[in-house]
């Protein structure tokens, strides 16, 4: 981890929402279609290793590290919440655990729903922002 990455990560509250803007072709296509700034989202867990939770085609909803987005190839907005109480944090830990445990695959069907309204994700599959929406709904 570089000094720059350490400085950036210092003090990010647990359960912050990461909004990611990449330069890959698929990332650009997603942004073109959604007319948005970002093409991917994740939830920050921290815990000393700068863990995040995200939905990805390769690994469904799983853990990774924020450092993979802190490079010259990405832009990142961190939405933070410093007003969470300990009881809310404990509840959110359960919520995230359940989302991860019950998600068995990445929702390509849900993504196609952006092009073909009517197509929806199966209950045990999610794409990235759908994971975060589940988190807000149950929060």
């Amino acid at each position: 981890m570089t000094q720059q990455q350490k400085e950036f990560c210092k003090g990010i509250p647990i359960f912050s929402i990461l909004s990611v803007r990449g330069e890959e072709v698929v990332a650009k296509l997603i942004r073109f279609w959604e007319r948005g700034f970002s093409n991917h989202t994740a939830i920050y867990l921290g815990r000393g290793q700068n863990l995040i939770v995200e939905a990805s085609p390769r690994r469904a909803v799983n853990y990774s590290y924020i450092t993979k987005y802190l490079t010259n190839k990405y832009e990142l907005i961190v939405y933070e919440n410093n007003e969470l109480k300990n009881s809310q944090i404990e509840k959110l830990k359960d919520v995230l655990y359940n989302i991860q445990a019950e998600t068995q695959g990445y929702s390509f069907l849900g993504l196609l729903g952006f092009l073909l309204p009517g197509l929806k994700s199966k209950t045990n599959e999610k794409f990235c922002s759908e994971t975060e929406l589940s988190y807000f709904i149950r929060h």
Partner: protein, 63 residues
């Protein structure tokens, strides 16, 4: 519309509001894909979510 070419020295949290509550959620609503998206984004803001930091290809700003 969100400013794509952001000057990292002059960016402020309010620059991100349009993204949080704007075009993306409007499209989701119109398509009926995630009907609660706008309400959820509003609630998120009320619950205290704010832009805390911004990373742009190796340069960053902490608000």
């Amino acid at each position: 519309m969100f400013p794509v070419d952001i000057d990292i020295n002059h960016v402020s949290p309010s620059d991100f509001d349009e993204f949080m509550l704007g075009e993306r959620n409007r499209i989701l609503l119109e398509n009926g894909l995630i009907e609660d998206a706008l309400r959820i984004a509003d609630e998120a803001k009320m619950l205290g979510w704010k832009v805390g930091r911004f990373w742009k290809r190796g340069v960053f700003k902490i608000f």
